[in-house]
């Protein structure tokens, strides 16, 4: 009489625990990292301080210093451009400058000025730019 009771209890417990264990873990493998508000705040500050002077506040390549530059600063909002370049490409040109990747040296290298985190955050911010 005692044994079945205990057995029942144990079976119930194990079954319950097993049930909880087999709860589907949300399929998050494919989820894109959503940038945190903090990352975007830092990215925005970096962009406005270092990039907007030439690339323009909204990324259209129309910053006030743009007219001095030949070749003209890139329109960062251009969907073609956004599609073509990976985050790593963008980080690379920011880090090594135009000269570092075979483009215009008028785009300076920021790898000694900005840290990796700032570069990552500004790439996140650039991804949200719509240009003009």
């Amino acid at each position: 009489m005692r044994r079945p009771g205990v057995l029942l209890l144990m079976v119930a417990l194990v079954a319950f625990a097993a049930c909880r264990r087999s709860l589907p873990a949300k399929p998050a493998g494919a989820a894109l990292p959503s940038p945190s508000a903090y990352d975007l705040e830092i990215g925005r500050n970096v962009y406005l301080a270092y990039c907007a002077t030439c690339h323009g506040e909204k990324g259209a390549g129309d910053g006030f210093n743009a007219f001095n530059l030949d070749p003209h600063p890139r329109d960062l909002g251009d969907p073609e451009f956004q599609k073509k370049k990976s985050d790593a490409d963008l980080a690379d040109v920011i880090r090594r400058g135009g000269a570092g990747v075979g483009l215009s040296s008028l785009m300076p290298p920021w790898g000694h000025t900005l840290n990796d985190r700032q570069i990552e955050d500004v790439v996140l911010y650039i991804r949200g730019l719509k240009g003009s």
């Binding site: 009489m1 005692r2 009771g5 205990v6 209890l9 417990l13 319950f16 625990a17 909880r20 264990r21 709860l23 873990a25 949300k26 998050a28 493998g29 989820a31 894109l32 990292p33 959503s34 945190s36 508000a37 903090y38 990352d39 705040e41 830092i42 500050n45 301080a49 270092y50 002077t53 030439c54 006030f64 210093n65 001095n68 530059l69 070749p71 400058g97 135009g98 000269a99 075979g102 483009l103 215009s104 040296s105 008028l106 785009m107 300076p108 290298p109 920021w110 790898g111 000694h112 000025t113 985190r117 990552e120 955050d121």
Partner: protein, 690 residues
């Protein structure tokens, strides 16, 4: 009976059964009771979460070894113990298992990787979690840990105000990587919160609000009424908040202010000035623009805005007062940031003539500057009101230094409990400290009748910043080991005649010296002596010109004498030098490092002309370099090129990671600029094709 008889033996034979049954039942009960605790433990949510995390990790792992590592993670409470940080024990990582795990980027909470910050992912073991986020580190259930279950337990800081956590340790005004906190701290100071509320570390704060003893000679009753009703409606730059005064209160206060005796000296100078002949408005307009007044003031909204808007100034203040004030602003308000320009007698008359001609409210009635005839009864009523409303906390009379802290002190808001706050009528608010603070700043008097705090009209971002700053004040300072002070730099202001000049021209209103001074100018003076040449500095002080055309703020022409300029330049060359900067950077270097031709080549290949002008071509971001050799010291150029951000952390000139040789060659090239009869612009168009 037969039945009864039949029952009894049955009862007799069955007698041991109930006992056995009782025994069985009680042992079962006993076992159940024994099982409660292990069962409760086995069912604690963190165990399920840890198993869920294990599965998630195995499904996300990119190698067999990594998957095995997830599979072998024991189910257990995890904790970070900080013995030297108030003996903190943070068990948050018991559920937030992926905070330091890059595989968990974008994973669902509570497993997601912590966003990267200056301290993550490297400093979890040094700083823990609750030191920034608040909450209950020891708890292992979500409700308890997040501080949602008990009223007296510190809840977590909501994400919107999370930068308050940075401010617990970072005590300086500006904190890199915490822009909201920095903005909040600056706003709290600028809005004058410290004038009424005492806050640790800001006891010596004095408002810049003007003493009110010359009001009766400055303005008229009508203007004053408009101002008291809503200062920001009169001047959008006004720092004075809205006190929501009734018409009666405004009348009483006006009479009180007009009853104030004007100090003899000031009264004489105002009256004498009002009798002076009229000036030349055209000349005044020229002097006004040369003096770069909009570096602080605004004209129709254009300008820096740290000083009052001037487009209607002649309808706000009388001619005599304006003339006397411009001649010696510090006699009217010893705490003003405005410099005392070295204007001539007629300069000031001309400027005020320009004000009267162009900078007045053309729609204002004639009597806007009509003085008020004082009614003693009303003035006495106004005196009581002045005291009760706390006006004296900001408008300290020139002679006293005693300030009454009128409001409650704001220390320790970061550790206050919502239960200790008076929500009064605001039943609509969530019972949390941040929501109380936001509402208090938004409409301070909505909590109860008779409250005195004025309203400031801050926008959403500003409110968030201010609340972040207030929440960064803990009840106790963090242990010294964790406190991060601003780096110590020279903050010495010379005394004597040089000190008088620094004060007269209010250098610190725009320039920083070490940790002191405001930040309107982009050029701190801390190491200015190592940077610029003495002769250039003297001429610049006499006739400042625009170094960076993109900045709206320009160094004003203060009209100082050559003697004064020389004295200041010599003091700067003596005191504000960085011993790390060599006068001659080429000492001990091979002659090839001095090659200006190589330097010029570098100038072109690095793309310097994108931002700098030499001769006629180049960009407008940095200062023109045409006359570099006349302006800058070679030692400083080299030092700057090696690491521009040493000069100022937010400087935009990129650090190119130059070798000593390259930096020296560039220095050698820049040193040739301005020393020849005609500076040759570098050959352009050599950069690689796009």
């Amino acid at each position: 009976m037969g039945v009864a008889m039949g029952e009894r033996p049955a009862g007799m034979t069955e007698e041991p059964m109930p006992l056995r049954r009782l025994f069985a039942a009680s042992s079962l009960l006993f076992l159940l009771v024994l099982a409660v605790s292990p069962a409760k433990n086995a069912l604690r949510p963190y165990r399920f979460l840890q198993r869920q995390f294990r599965d998630l990790g195995m499904s996300r792992a990119t190698s067999l070894k990594a998957a095995e590592a997830y599979a072998n993670q024991p189910v257990a409470i995890r904790q970070i113990w900080l013995r030297d940080f108030d003996n903190r024990v943070d068990r948050c990582t018991t559920c937030h298992l992926g905070v330091a795990d890059p595989v968990m980027i974008g994973a669902p909470e509570p497993f997601r990787t912590h966003p990267k910050t200056a301290h993550t992912p490297d400093d979890f073991d040094r700083i823990g979690c609750t030191s920034c986020h608040g909450g209950q580190g020891l708890a292992t259930s979500k409700e308890d840990a997040h501080g949602l279950s008990k009223e007296d337990a510190a809840p977590m800081t909501p994400a919107a105000f999370i930068q308050s956590g940075c401010g617990r340790c970072h005590v300086s005004r500006s904190v890199p990587d915490a822009p909201t906190l920095s903005a909040g701290r600056a706003l709290v100071e600028r809005a004058g919160c410290y004038a009424c509320h005492s806050v640790r570390g800001h006891e010596s704060y004095r408002s810049e609000a003007p003493p009110l003893d010359t009001v009766s000679l400055k303005t008229g009753g009508m203007w004053l009424r408009g101002w008291l009703e809503n200062p920001k409606a009169v001047d959008p730059n006004a720092t004075m908040p809205n006190f929501h005064l009734s018409a009666d209160d405004i009348r009483a206060l006006s009479h009180y202010l007009f009853s104030q005796p004007v100090p003899d000296g000031l009264a004489r100078s105002i009256e004498a000035a009002s009798r002076e002949p009229a000036g030349d408005p055209a000349a005044g307009k020229r002097i006004f623009s040369e003096s770069r007044c909009i570096t602080c003031h605004t004209l129709d909204g254009k300008g820096n805005g740290s000083g009052p808007e001037l487009s209607k100034i002649a309808s706000a203040a009388t001619r005599g007062w304006l003339i006397a004030f411009l001649r010696d602003p510090h006699a009217f308000n010893p705490r003003t940031r405005m410099p005392r320009y070295n204007f001539s007698e007629s300069d000031v008359r001309d400027i005020v003539a320009y004000f009267e001609e162009e900078l007045r409210d053309f729609e204002a009635p004639e009597e806007i500057l009509q003085p008020l005839r004082v009614n003693q009864t009303l003035a006495e009523k106004g005196a009581i009101l002045f005291r009760n409303a706390g006006c004296g906390s900001c408008h300290v009379s020139g002679s006293t230094n005693e300030v009454e802290k009128f409001g409650p002190d704001l220390d320790g808001f970061g550790d206050r409990r919502a239960a200790s706050l008076d929500f009064g009528r605001r039943h609509d608010l969530p019972r949390t400290v941040p929501s109380w603070l936001v509402a208090k700043i938004e409409s301070p008097r909505s909590f109860a009748d008779g409250l005195k705090m004025p309203s400031y009209g801050f926008d959403e971002e500003q409110k968030r910043a201010i609340v972040t700053a207030l929440l960064s004040n803990g009840a106790q300072p963090v242990p010294e080991k964790y406190r991060h002070h601003a780096p110590e730099t020279v903050a010495m202001i010379p005394g004597g005649r040089v000190g008088e000049l620094f004060s007269r021209y209010r250098c610190l209103s725009c320039h920083q010296v070490g940790n002191r001074g405001d930040d309107i100018s982009t050029a701190p003076l801390t190491f200015e002596g190592s940077k610029v040449r003495r002769e250039w500095l003297i001429e610049y002080l006499l006739l400042p010109y625009t170094l960076r055309p993109i900045l709206p703020e320009r160094m004003p022409i203060l009209k100082m004498s050559r003697d004064e300029a020389t004295l200041l330049a010599d003091a700067i060359k003596t005191f504000y030098v960085d011993p790390a900067i060599a006068a001659d950077p080429f000492v001990g270097r091979p002659a090839s490092d001095r090659d200006p031709a190589e330097g010029e080549r570098l100038y072109t290949t690095l793309g310097c002309r994108g931002c700098h002008i030499i001769g006629a071509s180049g960009g407008y971001v940095g200062p023109p370099l045409t006359d570099t050799s006349k302006r800058l010291e070679p030692g400083w150029i080299f030092h700057f090129l090696k690491n521009p951000q040493v000069w100022r952390a937010d400087l935009r000139c990129p650090n190119y990671g130059l070798t000593d040789t390259d930096a020296l060659r560039l220095t050698a090239y820049l040193e040739t600029l301005g020393s020849q009869a005609a500076a040759k612009p570098p050959s352009a168009g050599k950069e690689s094709p796009r």
